[in-house]
């Protein structure tokens, strides 16, 4: 983790890949990446935990660790792919988001995605949209490495370009100099959070299906989206008004999307391979407007379309 931060400061697009135990170890330097505002990508192929847990059977237990794993209050971005193709596409998007918002981005996959084989279409290079970090436009004498532009994101110089970068994990002012007092902390940490929060709708990506008249919405992410979508289709075939919300962006949470549909649907069903992590987020955003039921599984095997369908059928009768 430290090495990919260094590599990014030297100007490269850098990434590393791991699973739960590695992610736990990386968390201190993940926080350094947040504090120094380093664009980089961490792939987490989730397996069952806690601890060594289930090497290497599938799970989605790291959702909250991805969100809050390092100490302090911060915002991050995490995307969840449901297939090898999406793993490819979303990794590119992870890099683009990392570069744009100057934040470490997590590709929150699971063993089922990481170890499955599938067709992957690699588009021609010139069709891939790439974003590069903003570079300083002023000469070294005038550059303040942590002075943000209007979008709250500061341009980033690389080592060796003559800007005499001063970067630290300590609370710092716009020069990058340590200033460990309440005012600087307030200003810096607010901005680190706000630079993601104010761009929430731009960052968040969801896939919505059959929601127009839906009374039941299945909220899923990552590999579980596939059985979830299948279950919705099975329900529709039975005349049940079910729809699907697939979260491509797990973090920041698609709160505006849930809030919007909470006004319409009566039920949210949240299948996931943990004891209810995104379930709690959905419940929070549904604010009592609709009822929320989890389908929690601790991992080790997938949730089947039938299991999700059964739950849809059950609530549809209530």
């Amino acid at each position: 983790m430290a090495a990919i931060l260094g590599a990014s400061w030297a100007g490269a697009k850098s990434m590393t890949a791991t699973s739960g135990p590695g992610l736990s170890l990386m968390m201190e330097n993940f926080g350094l990446g947040v504090m120094m505002e380093v664009p980089t990508v961490v792939v987490d192929i989730q397996r069952g935990g806690p601890s060594t847990g289930l090497p290497t059977l599938t799970a989605q237990g790291d959702v909250m660790q991805a969100r809050w794993g390092s100490h302090g209050h911060y915002e991050i971005i995490a995307l969840a792919p449901d297939s090898p193709q999406e793993a490819f596409d979303l990794t590119i998007r992870c890099f683009n988001l990392a570069e744009k918002y100057r934040v470490p981005v997590i590709l929150l996959a699971s063993e089922t995605v990481g170890l499955s084989a599938g067709k992957v279409v690699v588009p021609p290079e010139d069709e891939i949209k790439l974003i590069d970090r903003k570079k300083p436009t002023v000469p070294p004498g005038e550059y303040l490495p942590y002075r943000p532009d209007e979008d709250l994101i500061p341009p980033m110089a690389s080592a060796g370009e003559g800007y005499a970068i001063c970067a630290t994990g300590l609370t710092h002012d716009e020069k990058g100099y340590p200033e460990t007092n309440a005012e600087t902390q307030e200003k810096l940490v607010r901005r680190l959070n706000d630079k993601i929060r104010v761009h929430l709708e731009e960052i968040v990506d969801v896939e919505e299906e059959h929601l127009e008249d839906a009374e039941i919405a299945v909220v899923s992410y990552g590999q579980v989206s596939r059985p979830a979508k299948r279950a919705v289709k099975m329900a529709r075939d039975e005349g049940i008004k079910a729809g699907s919300i697939k979260l491509i962006t797990v973090w920041p949470f698609a709160e505006h999307v849930i809030r919007k549909w909470a006004k319409q649907v009566e039920w949210f069903i949240v299948p996931e391979l943990n004891y209810g992590q995104i379930y709690l987020e959905v419940r929070r955003e549904a604010c009592g407007d609709s009822k929320v039921v989890p389908i929690p599984r601790m991992g080790g095997r997938l949730i089947t379309p039938q299991e999700i369908y059964q739950e849809i059928k059950k609530v549809s009768k209530n």
Binding site: M1, A2, A3, I4, L5, G6, A7, S8, W9, A10, G11, A12, S14, E28, N29, L32, M36, P140, G141, E142, Y143, S158, A159, G160, E161, G162, Y163, A164, I165, C166, A167, T168, G169, L170, G176, Y177, P178
Partner: protein
């Protein structure tokens, strides 16, 4: 910012300093300042372009150094200065990257990174200000505290043997290994300059007084008592066998440039060569 012209000097090394950040946090009698003085003098002596100098540090009193010098400086996490520097070096091998950090940082929490970077012969200069203690946090036992010495966490004396860090570096494969003290500024400067002129993993241990958190508890109460100990007990023995240079209170402190050897390539350069060969072979097959 990097100043383009040499300013009117306030201090001979002002050219290298972010003087707006002074005063620094270090105590009177601390060895970290003189070590940085020697490092900057050595950079001048070798004539390295200031824009190519990168200073990576970990956490601790010494870790704060990277924020005081007018070069690209990265103050990272505890023990992780070396892997951070490896990342920079992999992307921009042309940069002159030095890791300057404390003994706790480099050898307690960060020991694993040290031995593996040395084993891989990564092109880095690593300088350790060894003050035998965790200075910043109040003088706790480090992996470098001499046996029977006192620290806040060993009030009845340390029973653990200490690392002999030059031996560790040597055994792990470092191409340059030296030990000086922060009072041997000229000799230290010369040693750093020599190391800066080489490639590969280079290690210099600088014995460094911490009067506040080490001296006070170890019968070295006055601000200059540690400096006096260094002065009275040091013996310069270039090319000494690193096995024989363990630090023990009351015994001679062996200083010198112990190891200087040539190793053809760092593993990363070798990897690049290998990649080229494999690519060429694949091309030829087509």
């Amino acid at each position: 910012m990097i100043r383009e012209e040499e300013p009117q000097e306030l201090h001979p090394m002002d050219w290298w300093l972010r003087s707006e950040r002074l005063p620094h946090i270090w105590c009177a009698g601390c060895g970290i300042g003189p070590t940085l003085y020697a490092w900057t003098r050595a950079l001048d002596r070798v004539g390295i372009d200031k824009k190519k100098v990168v200073y990576v540090s970990g956490i601790g009193c010494c870790g704060r150094g990277s924020g005081y010098l007018d070069v690209d400086g990265f103050h990272t996490t505890h023990g992780r200065a070396i892997p951070f520097a490896v990342g920079i070096k992999l992307v921009k091998p042309e940069l002159c990257v030095s890791v300057i950090s404390g003994d706790g940082d480099l050898f307690s929490i960060g020991g694993n990174h040290f031995i593996h970077a040395a084993r891989r012969n990564v092109d880095l200069l690593v300088i350790c200000t060894n003050n035998f203690i965790y200075g910043m946090t109040g003088g706790q036992l480090a992996a470098t505290t001499p046996q029977r010495d006192y620290s806040t966490t060993t009030p009845y004396g340390n029973t653990e043997p200490a690392f002999n860090t030059p031996y560790l570096a040597d055994a792990s494969g470092a191409v340059y290994v030296a030990r000086w003290t922060s009072i041997h500024v000229r000799l230290l400067e010369r040693s750093i300059a020599e190391a800066l002129g080489m490639k590969g993993f280079r290690y210099i241990e600088v014995l460094s007084p911490c009067p506040v958190n080490y001296g006070r508890r170890n019968r070295l109460r006055e601000v200059d008592d540690i400096a006096k100990w260094f002065w009275e007990f040091s013996v310069v023995k270039h090319e000494a066998d690193t096995k024989e240079v363990q630090i023990e209170r009351g015994k001679p402190l062996i200083l010198g440039n112990f190891v200087k050897k040539e190793k053809k390539l760092s593993c990363y350069e070798e990897l690049k060569e290998l990649e080229e060969r494999v690519r060429a072979a694949a091309e030829a097959k087509k």
